[in-house]
Symmetry: C2
Subunit: 560 residues, 2 copies
């Protein structure tokens, strides 16, 4: 089994040649010194080296040995702690954190690429630092000065890892049902009691302390989501004593064995309020776009990992005669010469490359939304992120799983056994369709909260922007892509008149139609930037694009 | 986790009310006494009881403990041997074997239902007897009288289990590359030497002997598939001595842990020829339709198992408010009231029920092809089997995996952990897309060997038959289904003029178009037989059927 190999030049091409990130980012005052193409290329090179040499080789043991629980302690797989210590000490978690918090102030998109690669190389290991940046943002924007003084830099640099303690046994997608209690104390702290489940990295031996962010309810809070507040509870208090936060067990999972998924019991653990009473969910939702974009890029990364494995195998494995390029000196031809295999591989390539285009553009927009001096431009960027993020999260994690399964198929029976590592990718990828909001919830979010909530206005503005890009893109695929944008506009215009009950069942179809339209836009961007040898435009047109019209029809059929 | 529950009345409805199997089977002389509806219902009841009570409860241990290898011996999971001994002693393996061989002479379709349920209940366990009937047919039709005297009844009754030793490390889909050697001996036997991989049940403790059917090559045979002959090599010879056939290891797999997938080394093991020299593949292909139909029904069964789990969970689990049927007395509504969940479940129901209709009809045709006194009717039945089998195998095993994954999604994060057993179904189901010919090979088989080989004539005859059925079916969906049949006929008529190189990449799309057209036919049969409360017709029309036109378009685009 070969470990994942990050290819910095592939990313540099998309980020700097196709999207020209530098043109958008360098004018932002906060990034003026940090969005130079040479600097960005250099960061990518170094990141690729770290991921490929330090993190990727640990992936198999992460799956086979896994994280192990005993008597409340969790031992991480071999090499995980050393790799993590090297990771934070080299400054990687703080890549896009603010310099005043100990960060490097680089563009968000570089952090996104780093985590895409890490996920591709070792999804389980990557879960540990995966929530750091969200926790950093949360503490930075909502915590009191005292809490910040104690925790902000530790979390920004990744010296201490962080968790998000949201889910409870009866409260998953519906966090408003959470029952964990927070009782105010005379000194301004709170005593937190309750059981949280599905806590990634709730306990481990990677760092000397763990910072838990916990959703809980005050005794006098109303039921439902508005009664939830957010609290910070550390594993170790400042005086060195251990908090009464216990890892009761870790889950046996389909995959992601390198990441302990913990059941955490809080027994009157002392914690402190983060943000305002009753605004716990708001504090968490603030960072949701970035977190969901991370998950979308996990999907892109895992799919690329699957493609790398299958592509290498298909070049090496010989079975049967290919219909065209036969090599008579051999008893059989490489299976990559078989059209069904070639089509399958190129289709995944189309998803990976377009996913990168759309996700990196979204990451660029995150920085624009944060740093642009012009409010209108900030709002436009915010709209892009709000609309593109659920689409990326749902469609590219779906593809990670289904496309990795397609790649497994390239191996035949060898794909079903552990040896080649491809079945691990399929198992690991499956969770990305669930966490950070199931893909069904992404579809509801897109249709009801992002498109219909304002009567379709911001969606229409967004389509104008895509259409404008396409008008200026010299790509053979642009006319088709513009027709899809128009068709989507027509479809969206018909939605507000429909009964919500008719729309609920087709929210997923609508999201697919948007995803494939966006993919068409990305194909044009790639085509305009490339030298014409990429298989992506043809693979998209033949194997992916036909679904776009079908999904629009499925939505339309529901309106009648 | 609940074990799988076979529901005999569901099967009885499809087999006896919708398909009226008795009308086709009872007139066949060989089945005259054994195709009475009451008898068939009684067999289904008893089979359901055995599967549900004896085999289903062992499924979890089969996955978690699994088959274990040590020093060449394989220990099966707890309870597997006792269940198997009860199984063969009750006569289940011999259900459709001929009475003169120790069988019960019942219709093939009952055996198919039995194995569908067994796979749903415990896929790993079912792998052991899964190859018995094929081995029985192979020995019955090709072995010498001496070999038959020694092995036929033992295999017919299942007292001894059997294997198919085909694959070698470098010869998977391309068996013609196999190198295992068979050297003739003076006494008429052969010495077999070589290594076979992916041998399901190559070694185990379920039975006192194991009968291996091995593809091998004589020293003077030509290279390629025509040099392969078939040999029988037992684990123990008649004198009680152990043959030099060694299980070197078992594979670590994604799923199916209850079935040992063995690497088998033959060290000059004495064996006997089955059939003629150089006709080894023919002897095996004879039973391929039945074997592939078995796998298709594994897909149907696994999908039903996934549906059962998800349906039960969705009725019990409450999260968020449903858009229509809200229960104000509870803080949240059962997730089955959420339209995306309901649609997902009904879509799987549509695949399971239509899969049963098509597969059972195919099993009925297998008996017609074997037993009908009229040669023309036998040939028509043979055509049905030849065309429907690759479609069923590919489309319903694809759906088993993807639909089981959809069912997993109903559980949210709980689906990703072992507790509920749904992730096991996903892992187990994945292999059905690979073995007995990968689904890509099924698509090539359908398009090139079944449709185009005779210029489309038998395909056209088959479509006439489907159309004829639809003309006589009183179903609201019949006009749509007939339009799909017509469109498929038009498409097929355009194929012979196309370059094969243009067709290879879209063979899979063509198979999908055929599958969905067949599904439309099956929906009409169900609709005509049902009392109108089934969600299947609407789920098919809304969620599955739109793909049919898309796939036809994808094929057509390749022709230009």
């Amino acid at each position: 089994m070969n470990a994942y190999r990050p290819i910095a030049s592939d990313i540099g091409f998309i980020l700097l040649d196709v999207l020209r990130a530098q043109d958008t980012l360098a004018p932002l005052p906060a990034l003026a010194d940090n969005a130079d193409p040479d600097l960005m290329r250099q960061v990518l090179e170094e990141a690729g080296k770290f991921v490929g040499e330090v993190v990727a080789p640990l992936n198999r043991d992460g799956d086979e040995i896994g994280a192990r629980w005993q008597d409340g302690r969790v031992t991480m797989p071999p090499g995980f702690r050393d790799a993590y210590q090297a990771f934070w000490q080299a400054g990687w978690p703080a890549l896009s954190a603010a310099p005043e918090d100990g960060g490097q102030g680089l563009p968000t998109v570089l952090e996104m690429v780093l985590y895409e690669w890490l996920s591709a190389a070792n999804h389980g290991w990557t879960m540990a630092p995966g929530l750091l940046h969200g926790a950093y943002d949360c503490i930075k924007h909502h915590a009191s000065p005292e809490l910040k003084a104690r925790y902000l830099e530790k979390v920004a640099t990744g010296e201490w890892l962080a968790t998000m303690c949201l889910t409870e046994p009866h409260a998953g997608s519906d966090l408003g049902l959470a029952r964990t209690k927070a009782v105010p104390q005379a000194d301004g702290s709170y005593r937190i009691s309750g059981t949280k489940i599905f806590i990634s990295g709730g306990e481990h031996d990677l760092t000397d302390n763990i910072v838990h962010l916990v959703l809980a309810r005050l005794p006098d809070s109303p039921p439902g989501p508005k009664g939830l507040s957010l609290f910070l509870v550390p594993k170790f208090y400042e005086n060195g004593s251990r908090s009464p936060v216990v890892c009761e067990r870790i889950e046996e999972k389909m995959g992601l064995h390198g990441s302990p998924t913990c059941v955490m019991r809080f027994d009157e653990a002392t914690g402190w309020l983060v943000g305002e009473h009753g605004k716990g969910l708001n504090a968490m939702f603030l960072m949701m776009n970035a977190a969901r974009l991370h998950v979308a890029l996990q999907g892109v990364g895992l799919l690329d990992a699957a493609w790398q494995k299958a592509d290498a195998y298909a070049r090496d494995r010989r079975q049967m005669r290919a219909p065209v390029r036969r090599d008579p000196s051999q008893p059989a031809d490489p299976i990559i010469e078989h059209p069904a295999v070639q089509r399958l591989l190129d289709t995944q390539r189309a998803w990976v490359d377009t996913g990168r285009v759309i996700a990196y553009q979204t990451a660029i927009e995150l920085d624009v939304a944060k740093h642009h001096p012009d409010a209108a431009r900030r709002q436009q960027a915010q709209q892009w992120c709000a609309l593109a993020t659920p689409v990326l999260k749902a469609a590219w994690t779906d593809q990670a799983f289904h496309g990795a399964s397609d790649c497994l198929q390239v191996f035949g029976g060898h794909g079903y056994v552990r040896e080649w590592g491809i079945e691990q990718v399929v198992r690991d990828a499956r969770v990305t369709m669930i966490y950070e909001g199931t893909n069904e919830i992404q579809a509801q979010d897109l249709l009801f909260r992002k498109v219909l909530a304002d009567g379709g206005r911001s969606f229409s503005t967004w389509l104008d922007r895509l259409d404008g890009d396409l008008t200026h893109t010299h790509s053979p695929s642009a006319p088709r892509a513009r027709r899809d944008v128009d068709a989507l506009r027509d479809l969206a215009a018909a939605l507000p008149a429909a009964q919500p009950t008719a729309l609920y069942p087709v929210a997923g179809d609508f999201l697919r139609a948007v995803a494939l339209t966006l993919m068409g836009w990305a194909v044009c961007r790639l085509e305009a930037g490339a030298n014409g040898t990429s298989p992506v435009p043809e693979a998209f047109g033949r194997s992916v694009w036909p679904e776009c019209a079908m999904r629009r029809e499925m939505v339309r059929a529901a309106l009648n």
